[in-house]
Symmetry: C2
Subunit: 340 residues, 2 copies
Amino acid sequence: MKLQDIGEFGLIDRIAGKVRDKFSVPIGIGDDAAGIRPAEGTLTLVTSDMLIEGVHFDFNLTDPRSLGRKSLAVNLSDMAAMGCRPRYFLLSMGVPSHVSVDFLDAFIAGIMDRADQFAVGLIGGDTCSSKSGFVISITMMGEQLPEQTVRRSGAVPGDMICVTGTVGDSALGLQLLQRGEREGLPVLRHLDPVPRVAEGMALAEARLPSAMIDISDGLAADLGHILDQSGVGACVHLESIPLSEPFRCGCNSMDLDPFSLALAGGEDYELLFTVPPAQQHLVRELLTGTGSSVTVIGNITESRHLSIIAGDGSEYTLAAKGYDHFSGSASVPDRREAQQ
Amino acid sequence: MKLQDIGEFGLIDRIAGKVRDKFSVPIGIGDDAAGIRPAEGTLTLVTSDMLIEGVHFDFNLTDPRSLGRKSLAVNLSDMAAMGCRPRYFLLSMGVPSHVSVDFLDAFIAGIMDRADQFAVGLIGGDTCSSKSGFVISITMMGEQLPEQTVRRSGAVPGDMICVTGTVGDSALGLQLLQRGEREGLPVLRHLDPVPRVAEGMALAEARLPSAMIDISDGLAADLGHILDQSGVGACVHLESIPLSEPFRCGCNSMDLDPFSLALAGGEDYELLFTVPPAQQHLVRELLTGTGSSVTVIGNITESRHLSIIAGDGSEYTLAAKGYDHFSGSASVPDRREAQQ
């Protein structure tokens, strides 16, 4: 079935029909604006992410359902990075004329997979045609007690730097996809990342992290955001960076530097956070409860410099620091500029 | 200066530097999410609009500053249609590589013109590259007492149908622009519409409208949204529809049917609302205070049918009902589908 057969308002009806009643809000889909009533005493947190065909995704490498799942996951990951409980989202789409209703049904099904899993409700958005590829913009809102909010700016010298799970898999997965691979952990982590929502909320509720961010631009670039906003530096031990076994094997067989991918690759959607040394054991206990691993990769310093130390004690120099949208993926942005 | 000279994070810094301190929020630009603290007892209203190059705008016909002003205006207009005070917005942009920093500065200046005028603060968003045209997605949030919210669903038989200002100017303006005209009221109303925020808030605070919407898809289509959601019909008197003098002259000289443009043209961003007959005089008094005119164009009926009556008593048949993104501008969507 073609989109022009059901029309703009038919599509909106189709999406609205998939919204669960349990996420009912004072004003939902179908008016000029949606209306929510935040719990008293809470902050409303809000984040937006835009995904554009040919920049963030390529339909030769992904499918509409995975794209839907990932589109919601990247916003859920931003909520996780604040330690916030996600509640609602708005979905805006620019849809090229060649896109079929089946394609959109699969995309929306992917969105709803992750929405149901993380108990977030679709309350509004916008649909329009696009002459320039498929465009997605999602705005997500969450609720949080003000004292539990974790900013990027709270890291202090002496804090330990922690990361959940493993890093680099997604960047390797993209390279594998581009070579025709369609299976395996790295590919799956690129196409369908899992946001660390429970981990972020548990850490925030226990008030353990002094600063936190999710790894979207790359471990080095995202650590850079924490350092810039906290006015501190860091020492990272290269050999401590958690790498998965499939990642090590893949890098080995493709003759890639695993640390370059792990530090600059991006799109891992793991949590990167800092904690006072005395609370390090509490972090491990807490995250074990969520099923996530956590690794200490270094510590915060006063120097305002990011130093990465290799196993032999020498300083490791990173060629590419992370993704800059206007310079291309292999850019080396001045860290001073890396503020988001 | 080219965008690649300043990079993604340089651009974000540049935008953040234009944000006024007076709109300070608990968490502003520069973290994984923004944080606001809504006033106790209020609803938070939220709306998103996406604008895509080649669909919503054409750089042969507009300039970046006007585009910025209009991008914010269409979201402000959604807030106005709920009778809500707009407070904050998030701006997401997909930017093609050929776009210059000067262009973006002008676009942001246009955004900030309207933001300052209507006292809304930029608190976040996303910037990324686009391989296919300039893409804008704005999410706006406002605060409102629950009892003052005006929905689309409250119209009842006997209510008078009112519209602010004049309609059709924007649609004529687009036709004039396409013929090379660059001046005059219709062109200005197309390029730089004024959202009726004060009017919407005044009406809502006085609790006068039973239903309200802004005219974006076209008078007939947007009235259709009210009728569908209220489960009612309407009788509109063609000769009552408010038309500006420049609009009448333009239609005359271009041999266009003014009523077709006025009913189906769209992008007027006037308010269309219904009120009980006894409160009609209060509406006029109230809106005179905001400097806006208001015209009664018909009344709500029980029949669930939209009837448009010409001056000679005959029924006027509208060829095109309004804009449908997936059928093209001259579409005639089934009114039953026209739910947004």
